[in-house]
Amino acid sequence: MPLALTLLAVPVVALLAAVWLPFVNGPQLWLGLPSLLVWSVGWVLALTPALAYVERCRNATATAAAAATVTATSTSTSTSTSTSTATSTATGEER
């Protein structure tokens, strides 16, 4: 997740800083259009894959957390079952 958030920060910073960057905010043309316009469109479009990656990492983390919870629950259930079996055996309930 930290990597995903770092990647997301790149277009965010690039867009916020655009007007202060001399090589962007100048009279030059990129692809036949004003450089500030091209820079802005490019980084706005980069937000979508960056956010999609954050979502993917978020889902992976949520899935892993859910799996860990299930494992922990089943472990505690089997532990409590074996404990209760042992207790029952000791008290002769099985008979």
Partner: protein, 490 residues
């Protein structure tokens, strides 16, 4: 009747008809009418939220601004996608609170989170007052679209009346379902219109985008960069962008709440936030059309900034295609108008007048729809400039709600109603003074200055109240869904 006018009329009727088809039976409750059972999928939510991107200002205004101010217009490009980066995290929080506490409006959120109906009412009154000129702007914009596209000055007023009647009809009948249905057609038309404009206008007038750039550099190189100083310099660019970003990020426009609260899941909202930037990037197209106008039109012709897009389109394409572009432009007025009036009416019914009983609530709500649209239409026809001053305050005025929203997103609100309210009142007062006082000529956006004052006042009042004892009044912990029940209040 010209071909263009015929296509315009058919298109407007189609938008209205689609809106009416949004619902088969009238909604039984305000909740069903305004948030549609809270079960919209990602695509419908996307359409509703994307519908807010392309208003008449975006479609016509950005081209005009590019034509008059050059590349400074790009301040409008990043703030919305950047706001959606934040909304990726914030919108699900608001959605969860809305589901658990039965919110239908921004006013419900404030009343509940701050435990004060008075505060909910205050923010709602401000919301309605600031939205009225915005509604008028959409209706007046529609009249302008039809006038420019058909070249017939007499066509504007009948078009405004017809569009208003259609909007009232489908909003009353279908509520948010109708807005969503109309948004399907609107966004499909927008995609077609944007592609056609991008290809045909620069090719027709400049011989293509490459030649357009060369002409810009040769004749208008001073407009290819944002100057270091001056009224539209770097500081203005940055602070205007930040003000708009905060405004969108914290859902300060009341009509922005219904699409969030109507979503079926948090995931739908997150997916929507991921894809909105792609649509937001297309705002560059009206800007490119504006740059084409800069190189093509003479000074007098380009002075009417809002008209340059349709003016260029009319010279570059056949009448029927111009009609399609005009319908897309008309849709940018009709669909946002429907969303705005829906937001206004629910605020009045839920947070301002608060009639007892579901039926009375619907009656007040529907009455507000009719009154608000009629008022905006009459002012748009008779006194188009009557609300011009108020319109100057719409964005920054509504933006004053941002600190109160931000402070209420935590599990326990960081402010009391009195602190947040004091911040909003002082922020609005400073904004009005800066805008109309004729004493401020600085480059920093007036909205950002008043927002800073708002935060300082809210924090100061909060500190004083805490020093006098006691923690903020807290809302109950979110519990079981409370359907359409009124939010917890004091």
């Amino acid at each position: 009747m010209s071909v263009t006018l015929l296509v315009c009329v058919l298109g407007m009727v189609a938008i209205g008809a689609l809106g009416l088809l949004g619902r088969r039976r009238p909604a039984a409750s305000l909740e069903e009418w305004s948030v549609g059972g809270r079960n919209f999928g990602a695509f419908t939510t996307w359409l509703l939220q994307a519908g807010e991107i392309y208003t008449t200002f975006t479609f016509l205004g950005l081209a005009g601004l590019a034509c008059t101010s050059g590349v400074a217009v790009t301040y409008a490009l990043p703030y919305l996608p950047l706001a959606y980066v934040g909304l990726y995290a914030i919108a699900p929080v608001i959605w969860r609170m809305g589901r658990d506490r039965g919110y239908l409006t921004q006013g419900d959120f404030f009343a509940d989170r701050y435990g004060s109906r008075l505060f909910g009412g205050l923010t709602s009154v401000l919301g309605v007052v600031f939205l009225l000129p915005y509604l008028q702007l959409q209706i007046t914009g529609l009249g302008l679209v039809i006038q420019l596209a058909t070249g017939n000055k007499d066509a504007g007023t009948p078009a405004m009346i017809a569009a208003s009647v259609l909007v009232v009809a489908f909003v009353l009948w279908s509520g948010i379902q109708g807005v969503a249905k109309a948004a399907y057609l609107k966004d499909a038309l927008m995609v077609v219109a944007l592609l056609v404009l991008l290809v045909m206008v620069p090719a027709h007038y400049s011989g293509g985008i490459g030649h357009l750039g060369a002409q810009l550099r040769e004749h208008h190189s001073e407009l290819l960069s944002v100057p270091a100083g001056g009224p539209f310099g770097q500081v203005w660019f940055f602070t205007a962008m930040l003000t708009s970003l905060f405004s969108v990020l914290f859902l300060t426009m009341p009509q922005g709440w219904a699409p969030v609260l109507a979503a079926g899941s948090e995931r739908a909202l997150r997916k929507n936030s991921i894809w909105i930037p792609v649509y937001g990037a297309t705002q560059a197209i009206p800007m490119i059309v504006g740059f084409t106008a800069l190189t093509t039109l003479s000074g007098a012709a380009s002075a009417n900034g809002n008209g340059v897009l349709l003016q260029l389109a009319s010279g570059a394409m056949p009448d029927w295609l111009l009609g399609v572009i005009a319908v897309a432009a008309a849709a940018t007025a009709m669909v946002p108008s429907a969303g705005i009036v829906l937001g206004m009416s629910t605020l009045v019914a839920r947070n301002v007048l608060r009639p007892r009983g579901a039926r009375a609530g619907l009656l007040v709500n529907h009455g507000t729809v009719v009154i608000a649209v009629t008022l905006a239409l009459v002012l748009g026809i008779a006194r188009p400039d009557a609300l011009a001053n108020l319109l100057l305050l719409t964005y920054s005025g509504l933006g004053q709600m941002a600190p109160a929203t931000a402070a209420a997103l935590t599990r326990r609100p960081l402010l009391r109603a009195w602190s947040a309210g004091a911040g909003i009142v002082v922020g609005e007062a400073v904004l009005i003074w800066l805008t109309f006082g004729d004493s401020y000529h600085g480059a920093i956006s007036t909205g950002l200055i008043s927002l800073a004052v708002n935060v300082v006042v809210a924090v100061a009042v909060e500190l004083v109240l805490r020093a006098r004892g006691g923690a903020p009044v807290l809302p109950d912990e979110p519990s079981a869904p409370s359907s359409a029940s009124a939010p917890a209040t004091v």
